[in-house]
Structure formats: structure tokens, C-alpha cells
């Protein structure tokens, strides 16, 4: 073993180095680009490629070649893929782009050149890009906009040259030709000053849609007049200023600018301006702006004392991520109609101060993790329509009437994602259209009608509010309600009951995750307009067709994650005709052949059913987790042979039984004959003779025959059916067993009665055939009286027998009687042992 191990060591070395080599080779020679969409989208990221791989089809529209060492783009580099719409050349070590490199890409919309150390760009490098809309040249060592040969790209809408070494905002003349340009980012460059005339190329009628991002440039100076007469959609100047003084001065340099949105501020953890000192934003008085965004500014020692001074003419103010803990001064007159405090540090809703913004239509105070109290009341906000206090930590006791009653036009109230809302104060806000309480704990709700006055409410969201709906009239008064979302709550007896009775206008209802076990037949009675119903994540065992019948307008039904085993035929029939989306995933389907009609229906309605791959069988065990739609219907169908078998086998069985019943005697008799009469004949004969007679001749048999033969000398033992047949055994069995098999001779007493009796003729027939099988004359005929000739002729066998064989006749004369007995005794004595 040791020797072997030692031997294998060099093998191991060779093998491992070979594998290493092979793996390297594989990485180089095979380029398994990911085919995201066949013939359209390919991702060849980080594959050590040095060009467009040969296997990329010419129809490709989106090609990701990022992280490959292309190094240099020569002319007509992309001639094999002329259909490209998007080309990603991120981090491809591209230093040189030669003339006409993109010549064939007439349809290219987006060119990404992020993080390439561009050193040489041919003057016609971007020729041919006739449709280019987005050019991303981030981190490309670009030192001047003038170096970019893009003046001819008239279709360009977005130019991103962030993180470069551009040191001047002097826009080259070609910008005046880029009439469609909407977005220009010069973020994180080296622009230190902005001078008059730098933006001259933007002066013109068409340029008012441009967003200019200058954030993260270390701006020391903005020459007054630089922005004079400039019209922008947005100007972003975040973290551009070293200190408060510089910021104040530079903002003054914006004088004359007309802008829809101005974004000032810094970034989280990049705070260079020491303080929001008085007059910091004074320069904004010279700027015409619609929306002002102030973001991530950490030092707010004097609150809002001068914050709004030059903003009274703006319409929208968004204050995001400021360490602002209270509103101190507010303008007495302003045109601000949209005010937002996002991620600020308020402890209480500053309702009193904010009530001074008389023009306010939208007020949002959101994402404040310190905001817990709502104690002040709003005073006269005649125009306020939207009040959004979501995602705070509010404990709002006695919501909402007294706090909000001075906001007469309030239409939208959002108190979602807070701590506790107690609605004991009543909701008397008659104009309210939408109300959102989701994920806030609702106290004192569910047992009495709080929405009574909200006749105009259209949208109500009380999802996950820990509500327990105990009263039928919880939703009474909501006569306009169209959307009710109340997932994650609970109902009395886990039954929807009649709580939704008043909601006649409802279009959308979400009662998912409500622990429901039952839906009453009358629950949806008044919801005839309902279009979307989500009743998923409950514990419903059945789909009651009666309950869902009123929902004739339903288009979307989500019944997933319940405990449904099957849809009954009635349920399938009662599904609304306009249903287009039915989700039955995550139920406990029973995929046995008993439910063939459902399984068949599911297969036929693949378009209606959603998330079908999650519709799996739970039963029977061997089919667990198999898709319901993959159920093999033919496994329940019988093959033609099986069908014929299944029909014919019982039929044959029944026929067999009938035949046995009908021919029991024949069969039994045949059996006896076949299995050897010898066995039977060998046995000791119990009787000397078996008497076949009609029961109407019983008198004669008993008085004459039995008395004479059994009482005479020697005595004969007769087998008489009325005396010797064993009760409880079929007559035929008795005839064979007791009669023929146990007797040596058979005496037939022929009379008119005999010929009329079926049993007698039957017994006679057996006796005859027995005689034939046995081969000896064991049958003794006694003709009792003058037999009716007509009857005799009819009994063909008997008349022939009588004609051919000797028989005894019973006569009235004494002498012939004597003869009769002697003959009979002789016949019986024959071979008696």
C-alpha cells in the first residue's frame, strides 16, 4: 500500500497541474455568455474576453461585455452586432477608442463606458450612433468636456460624466446642438468655480428641461450672474461647499436662475458646513424656484428661524434627513402648498406652527423615529387635503376629530406604520376620501361603528391593525367605499359573517391572513360590484358556491394558501364569467381520480389560473408536491381491454350464476355421473327400491305397495319421498342421493297423475338414463290404471318404453294381483344379497 501511495504521488502532481492548466484553458477558450433572452440579451460579464464573442447572434439587442480586457476599440468593432440597443462596456480597460468604432450601431440607445481609463478618443469615435440617448462616461479620466467628441449626437438625452477630472463647467459650444439633453451629471468632478458665460450654451428656448447635477464638486466661487437667465428643470448642489460662509456666498451667486427644483444639502456623514447660520439661504431670494429640497444637513442650531425666509414663493418644500427637532419661526404669509419633513427629529407633531402655512395642501411628516406625540391641534388649514404622518412612532390617543376638525377639506389621511392609534375621538371628517391605518395598532375598534360619518370615503386600509371585527355594523356608513384592505386582522368566530353588508360600492376587498375558517352564504350578498377579492392565507376548507354566487363582477380572486382539497363541480360552474385571474396556489389539493373533473378543469383553465407551479397535490402521498397541472389524466382512464374486461367479467359471473341456478340439477347430475357413479354404486344400498310416483297416488303406494313389500317376507326396504327424503336438502339432491344412489331398483308407478306431474317425468327420465349408464334393468314399471292414450302419446319417452319393455299392471282381480306381487318380488329379489 505504501509503495502504491508513493507511486501515485507524481501522478497526483501531474494530474493536478494538468487540471489547473485545463481549468485556465477552459476559462479562456469557452465563453459561456449567459443567454438572458435568446437572441436578444446576452451577459458576458467578467469572462476574460478580448472582443465580441463569435457566438453572439447578430440579432442581439442588449450586450453586457463588462469586466473584460478589451483595451482598445478599433474601427467597426461591433459590426457583427448591428441591432444593439444597449452596450455595456464597464471596466473593460479601454484606453483607446478609434475612429468609427461604433459605426454600425445606428440603433444603439445606451452606451455605458463606466470606469475605463480613456486616453485617446478619435475625433469620429462616436460616429454612427445615430440614435444614442444615454452616454454613461463615469470614472473615465475625462478632464474636459471639450475632449468628448459628442457634438454630433443630436439625439442625446442623458450625459453622465460623474467622477472624472473635469475642472470647469464651461460647456463647449456643441451643447447648444444637443437640444434633447435632459440630464447632465458632473457629480464628483473638480469644478472649483463657476463663471459668467460657462452655461451660455444652455441659454435658449429649448433648454428648460435640463437637470444639472453638480454635487460633490469643491466649489469655491460662483460668480454672480453665472446663472442669470438660465432655465433649468433641476439643479443639484449637494456637498459642494467647504463651510457656511462659502455656501452662503455661492448661493448668492445663483441669482437670476429659474429652476423647477433646487437640491441643496450634503450627504450622511459628509457634513462640512458647520452650521445653518442665519441668512445661509438668503441668496435664494434671487432665484425663481418651484420646489426646494434640503437634504442631509446635520447642524441646525437655530431651527427654522430663517429657513423659510426666501422660500415663501416656492410651492413645494421637502426637508429630508435634517437634524431638525422643532419648527421655531414660520412665515406669516407664504405660497407653500406642499411641505414635507422626511427623517427629521421632531418629538411631537408641530401642529400649531405648521398651521401658519395657510396655503398648504399637502403636509407630510414621515420616517421620524423620535416622533411619538400628537398633542397639539391643527388650527385652520382651509386648503389642506393630504395629511401624511406615516412611518413614525406616534401614539395618537383620542384620534381624530378634535385634532383635525379645523382642516375642513382633508381628503387623505395616512397614519400607517405608527405605534398606537385610538379612534375613540370619532372620525367626523366628512370630506375624507382615503384613510390609511395599516400596521398601526388600532385601539377600541371593531365593536362599534366609527366610520359612520365617512360617506365619501373610497379607500380604507386597516391591514395588520390587530383589529377584531365583532360587530356587524363596524363598516356601516361607508356607502362610497370602493377599496377595503384589512389583511391580518380577525373576525368574530373566524367567520366573515355579515360584517360587509353595507359596502355596496366595493370594488376591491382584501381579507387575507384573517384566520378565517368560514364564509357565510350571505357574506358577499351585497358586494355585486366587487372586482378583486383576496381571501388568501386563511383556513378555508371549501369554496362554497352559494356564498360566492353574488360576486358576478369579480375579475380577480386570490384563494391561495387555504386548505382547499378540491373545487366541486358546482363551484367550478358558479365561478364568475368575467374572472381572469384565479390563484389557487398553496392549497391542499387531493389529486386522486375521485376528483378527475376538477383536475381536468384545472388543466383546461391554465390561462385563468395563476402561480400554477405552486398548485401542488397534497394527497395521495405518492403525488405530494407534484403540480396539479402535471397530473396525468389518462392514469384514471381504463384501456379498452380493461374496459371490456371490467364489463364482461361481472356479466359473465351473473350469467354463470343464473346458469348454475337454472341447470343446477343437470350439473350436479353430470358431476355425479362424471366423478364416477361407481363410487356411489359401490356403496351399500340402503333401499331395495326407490318408488317414483305421483303424490296423488300416495294412498295406493302406502296402503298397497309399501305394506305388501315392506311387511312381506322377505321384507324390502323402499325409498319413499314423503318418508325418506332428508329435509333441508334440495329435492334434486334428495332424488339423486336418497333415491337413485341408495336404491338398487327403481319402481315407477304409472298413472294419469304420474304423467301430469313434472317431478315424476323428471324422475323417470333420470331413471331411464341411470339404467342406460348402469347397463342393467333396474327400472320396474307398474301401470296402475288404464292410462289416457292421448297423454301417453305426448310422453314420447314413456310410451316408447312401455312399448318395448315388460311392465307390471295392477288389476282388480285377485289372481292377477297375486301374479303382480310375485313378479314384483322376483324383480326386486334379483341380485339382492
Amino acid at each position: 500500500m505504501l509503495g502504491r501511495g508513493a507511486l501515485s504521488f507524481p501522478t497526483c502532481l501531474v494530474l493536478s497541474s494538468a487540471i489547473l492548466f485545463l481549468s485556465q484553458l477552459m476559462a479562456c477558450s469557452f465563453n459561456p455568455c449567459v443567454e438572458v433572452i435568446p437572441n436578444i440579451t446576452y451577459r458576458c460579464m467578467d469572462l476574460n474576453l478580448s472582443g465580441v464573442p463569435a457566438e453572439i447572434p447578430p440579432s442581439t439587442e442588449n450586450l453586457d461585455l463588462s469586466f473584460n480586457p478589451l483595451v482598445s476599440l478599433t474601427s467597426n468593432y461591433f459590426s457583427e452586432v448591428p441591432e444593439l440597443r444597449l452596450l455595456d462596456l464597464t471596466r473593460c480597460h479601454i484606453q483607446t477608442i478609434e475612429d468609427y468604432a461604433f459605426k454600425d450601431l445606428h440603433k444603439l440607445l445606451t452606451l455605458i463606458l463606466t470606469a475605463n481609463p480613456l486616453q485617446h478618443l478619435g475625433p469620429t469615435a462616436f460616429y454612427g450612433l445615430a440614435s444614442l440617448q444615454r452616454l454613461i462616461a463615469v470614472e473615465d479620466d475625462i478632464s474636459s468636456l471639450a475632449d468628448l467628441p459628442i457634438g454630433h449626437l443630436h439625439t442625446l438625452q442623458e450625459l453622465n460624466v460623474a467622477n472624472n477630472q473635469v475642472d470647469s463647467l464651461k460647456l463647449p459650444g456643441y451643447f447648444s446642438h444637443l437640444s434633447l439633453l435632459r440630464f447632465l451629471s458632473l457629480k464628483s468632478n473638480r469644478i472649483s468655480s463657476i463663471s459668467t458665460g460657462d452655461l451660455a450654451a444652455l441659454q435658449g428656448e429649448k433648454k428648460h428641461n435640463l437637470t444639472l447635477v453638480l454635487s460633490l464638486n469643491d466649489i469655491k466661487c460662483i460668480q454672480p450672474g453665472s446663472f442669470e437667465g438660465i432655465l433649468l428643470h433641476e439643479l443639484s448642489l449637494r456637498a459642494c461647499f467647504e463651510n457656511t460662509g462659502l455656501m452662503k456666498a455661492c448661493i448668492q451667486g445663483l441669482a437670476g436662475l429659474q429652476v423647477n427644483r433646487l437640491v441643496l444639502g450634503e450627504f450622511r456623514n459628509i457634513g462640512r458646513v458647520e452650521d445653518f447660520s442665519n441668512g445661509l439661504l438668503d441668496g435664494l431670494c434671487q432665484v425663481q424656484l418651484q420646489e426646494f429640497v434640503f437634504i442631509s444637513f446635520q447642524r441646525f442650531d437655530n431651527c427654522t428661524d430663517t429657513l423659510f425666509d426666501c422660500l415663501v414663493n416656492a410651492s413645494t418644500i421637502r426637508l429630508v434627513d435634517l437634524s431638525l427637532d422643532q419648527v421655531s419661526a414660520v412665515p406669516t404669509a407664504s405660497r407653500i402648498h406642499h411641505l414635507e419633513f422626511n427623517t427629521c427629529k421632531f418629538i411631537e407633531v408641530p401642529a400649531k406652527k405648521l398651521s401658519s402655512f395657510k396655503e398648504l395642501r399637502v403636509l407630510r411628516i414621515t420616517n421620524s423615529k423620535y416622533l411619538t406625540g400628537f398633542r397639539e391641534k391643527f388650527k385652520d388649514l382651509p386648503n389642506l387635503e393630504v395629511l401624511d404622518l406615516s412611518v413614525n412612532r406616534l401614539s395618537f390617543i383620542q384620534c381624530c376629530d378634535s385634532y383635525l376638525k379645523r382642516i375642513p377639506k382633508l381628503k387623505h389621511l395616512n397614519l400607517s406604520f405608527n405605534s398606537i392609534i385610538s379612534v375613540t375621538g370619532g372620525l367626523n371628517i366628512t370630506e375624507l376620501v382615503s384613510l390609511d391605518f395599516r400596521h398601526s395598532k388600532l385601539n377600541d375598534f371593531g365593536s362599534f361603528p366609527v366610520f359612520h360619518c365617512l360617506g365619501k370615503l373610497i379607500y380604507l386600509d386597516i391591514s395588520y391593525t390587530s383589529s377584531h371585527i365583532a360587530s356587524q355594523c363596524t363598516f356601516s356608513g361607508l356607502k362610497s367605499l370602493q377599496v377595503l384592505k384589512m389583511a391580518g386582522n380577525s373576525f368574530q368566530d373566524n367567520n366573515l359573517g355579515n360584517s360587509l353588508m353595507n359596502l355596496t360600492q366595493l370594488l376591491t376587498l382584501d381579507v387575507s391572513s384573517c384566520k378565517l375558517t368560514q364564509v357565510s352564504p350571505s357574506t358577499f350578498k351585497s358586494l355585486t360590484k366587487l372586482q378583486e377579492l383576496n381571501i388568501s392565507h386563511n383556513k378555508l376548507l371549501a369554496f362554497d358556491p352559494l356564498a360566492y354566487k353574488p360576486l358576478q363582477a369579480l375579475t380577480v380572486l386570490d384563494f391561495s394558501s387555504n386548505q382547499l382539497t378540491v373545487l366541486t363541480e358546482k363551484a367550478m360552474e358558479s365561478l364568475p364569467s368575467c374572472l381572469v385571474h384565479l390563484d389557487l396556489s398553496y392549497n391542499l389539493f387531493d389529486c386522486s381520480c375521485n376528483h378527475l373533473s376538477f383536475l381536468k378543469w384545472a388543466k383546461e383553465h391554465g390561462e385563468l389560473l395563476k402561480s400554477t407551479q405552486l398548485m401542488v397535490c397534497n394527497n395521495p402521498v405518492h403525488m405530494q408536491n407534484m403540480s396539479v397541472l402535471s397530473f396525468d389524466l389518462s392514469s384514471c382512464h381504463l384501456s379498452p381491454v380493461e374496459w371490456v374486461m371490467s364489463v364482461s367479467v361481472p356479466f359473465a359471473g351473473i350469467l354463470f350464476v343464473i346458469l348454475i341456478y337454472k341447470y343446477y340439477f343437470l350439473l350436479y347430475y353430470g358431476l355425479v355421473l362424471h366423478s364416477g357413479c361407481r363410487r356411489y354404486t359401490d356403496r351399500n344400498d340402503t333401499y331395495d327400491a326407490f318408488v317414483i310416483h305421483s303424490s296423488k297416488d300416495i294412498e295406493w303406494v302406502r296402503k298397497e305397495l309399501a305394506e305388501k313389500l315392506e311387511g312381506g317376507m322377505p321384507p324390502f326396504q323402499l325409498c319413499l319421498h314423503y318418508r325418506d327424503f332428508i329435509p333441508g336438502v334440495p329435492i334434486t339432491t334428495n332424488i339423486i342421493q336418497e333415491g337413485f344412489l341408495s336404491s338398487r331398483r327403481v319402481i315407477a308407478v304409472i298413472s294419469n297423475h304420474f304423467m301430469e306431474s313434472k317431478w315424476c317425468s323428471f324422475e323417470l327420465e333420470i331413471a331411464q338414463s341411470w339404467q342406460f349408464v348402469d347397463g342393467k334393468a333396474s327400472l320396474i314399471m307398474i301401470v296402475l290404471e288404464e292410462v289416457d292414450k292421448v297423454l301417453l302419446r305426448r310422453k314420447l319417452g314413456l310410451s316408447r318404453y312401455l312399448r318395448r319393455n315388460t311392465y307390471l299392471e295392477w288389476r282388480d282381480q285377485e289372481i292377477s294381483r297375486h301374479l303382480f306381487w310375485r313378479q314384483l318380488r322376483t324383480a326386486l329379489l334379483d341380485d339382492k344379497t
Binding site: T11, C12, F267, N269, D321, T343
Partner: protein, 160 residues
């Protein structure tokens, strides 16, 4: 000899697989505290340092991290888990970037861009108890793709 080939092959493959693991970097090595980290992102390693390890115990400390993005981070989620025997016993998650309102400098950066972050971090605990801790840090973007992944090993000694 053939008998040995397949185990050897497996061994070699295993070795190859192991070799793609990133090296363990040292962040702190002081008398009473050692911190190491290793990238668990199969695509790349990253750089991370703490300005003064002693400051970790005084609540706020400065970190520096640098990496190249393999995925855009218009949205970014941070998940930190304290691991004990391979299982998470304490978790913390936070949304760092939102599509609108980029509070952090790096928010909104795209694939291929370079990230350098420098800033204070608050641990929120006043003392690190004695023992060895593993902390898993994951950054995912809005498409649930891994932006960065690291496993930190923190060893705390209590000096007599």
C-alpha cells in the same frame, strides 16, 4: 493506481475550490481585541479598516471601506447577524439607500463604479463581552443580489 485517481481528482478540485476563497484580513490586533474579516462574496474581495480600534469601545468609531460594485445600488439593504455555532442569534437590518432620496454618498451608484466610504459607525453596545464572536455582514441591492458579503471574527480578551 487507478483506484486512487478519483479521490485525488476530488482532492484537487476541492483545492481549486478552496483557492477561490479570499484571504483573511486583519482589522485590529490589540492586547484585548482582535478583529479579522474575510469576504464571502464569490466575485470579489474588498478593503475595510477601522481608524482606531480602541474607539470601538467608546461607542462611535470611524470606518473606511472600498470596493468596486458588481451590481447597481439604487436600493441597498444592510443585514448584520451575530452568529453562534453557525446560527444567527441576533440580527439587524436597515435600508441604506432608497430610489429617491439618496442620503449616503454611494447610493445610486451603478455597476462598475468605485465606492469609498468613510464615516462613523455606532455599535449601540457599551462593552464587548469576553469571547469569540462571528458577525456576518451582507449588503444586498433591490434585486436581492449580493453587493458585498463579509464575515468578521471578533475576539475579545479581558485583561487581568
Amino acid at each position: 493506481v487507478k483506484m486512487f485517481n478519483s479521490p485525488i481528482l476530488l482532492l484537487v478540485l476541492f483545492y481549486l475550490r478552496l483557492s477561490t476563497e479570499w484571504p483573511t484580513h486583519t482589522v485590529c490586533k490589540e492586547n484585548n481585541l482582535e478583529i479579522y474579516y474575510k469576504s464571502c462574496d464569490p466575485l470579489q474581495d474588498f478593503a475595510f479598516s477601522i481608524d482606531q480600534c480602541a474607539n470601538i469601545l467608546t461607542n462611535t468609531f470611524n470606518i473606511r471601506a472600498a470596493m468596486i460594485l458588481r451590481h447597481s445600488i439604487t436600493e441597498l439593504f444592510l443585514n448584520v447577524n451575530l452568529m453562534l455555532n453557525g446560527k444567527s442569534v441576533l440580527g439587524y437590518s436597515k435600508k441604506l439607500c432608497e430610489p429617491n432620496g439618496h442620503r449616503f454618498l454611494f447610493c445610486g451608484k451603478k455597476k462598475g463604479e468605485h465606492i469609498y466610504y468613510e464615516g462613523p459607525v455606532k455599535l449601540g453596545i457599551h462593552a464587548i463581552p469576553k469571547g469569540v464572536f462571528k458577525v456576518s455582514v451582507k449588503l444586498n441591492n433591490g434585486d436581492h443580489l449580493t453587493v458585498a458579503c463579509a464575515e468578521f471574527t471578533i475576539t475579545r480578551y479581558i485583561q487581568q
